[in-house]
């Protein structure tokens, strides 16, 4: 089960320039929430923005990462 730090690092590595704030919603390590700010989200629908983040963890969501709740934004 990846830690919040690991999830943050992987998002920030995969999406250059992105800032991810990852929290553990339940304290159990399997329900994580990531708030991601990334200028590459500009012009994309919310669905496409979430897909970009989910793609970083292809195959792990629903498995090792039980749930990853997302909030995506472009920098202001």
């Amino acid at each position: 089960m990846p830690s919040t730090d690991e999830v943050k690092e992987r998002i920030e590595q995969a999406l250059p320039g992105a800032t991810a704030n990852v929290t553990d919603l339940t304290g159990g390590g399997d329900h994580l929430r990531a708030e991601v700010v990334y200028d590459g989200f500009a012009g994309l629908s919310r669905l496409q923005q979430h897909r970009l983040v989910y793609d970083v963890f292809e195959g792990e969501i629903g498995g090792p990462i039980h749930a990853l709740s997302l909030k995506t934004e472009t920098p202001t």
Partner: protein, 128 residues
């Protein structure tokens, strides 16, 4: 049931039901907080929708995620298009975009409502 039959049933539901929710459990008996939240939002929106429980057979989820390219449950489809999962539906509900997508009036209360049985709601679809 073969995988092809399951996939066919999912496709049929997506294309024939204008508002189609794939969830864990049923709107009356949700088995996951995220699924419960989306069905409560739909109930509060006053829209008629169909729901399919993905739990009875693990292949339902596999086939659904294969079709939609979306890894998590719940998944809401409107007019044959994926709208999103719990986070997106919740955000859209709060901003009023969901009412636009569903073609309903925006409810006055914007916070997620308490569980309630909506009148006129279709019974959940079942895959035996």
């Amino acid at each position: 049931m073969t995988n092809e039959e399951i996939r066919g049933e999912i496709k049929r539901a997506i294309h024939e039901e204008r508002v189609m929710l794939f969830m864990k459990g049923t709107p009356d008996m949700p088995r996951c907080g995220f699924s419960a939240r989306v069905s409560q939002i739909l109930n509060a929106s006053g829209v008629e929708y169909a729901a399919m429980d993905i739990l009875p057979d693990p292949r339902i989820r596999e086939e659904l995620s294969g079709l939609s390219g979306w890894p998590t449950i719940p998944q809401l489809f409107v007019g044959g298009e994926l709208v999103g999962g719990c986070d997106i539906v919740t955000e859209m509900f709060e901003t009023g975009e969901l009412a636009e997508t569903l073609g309903t009036e925006r409810p006055e209360r914007v916070e997620a409502p308490a569980p309630a049985q909506a009148p006129g709601q279709s019974p959940p679809l079942q895959i035996e």
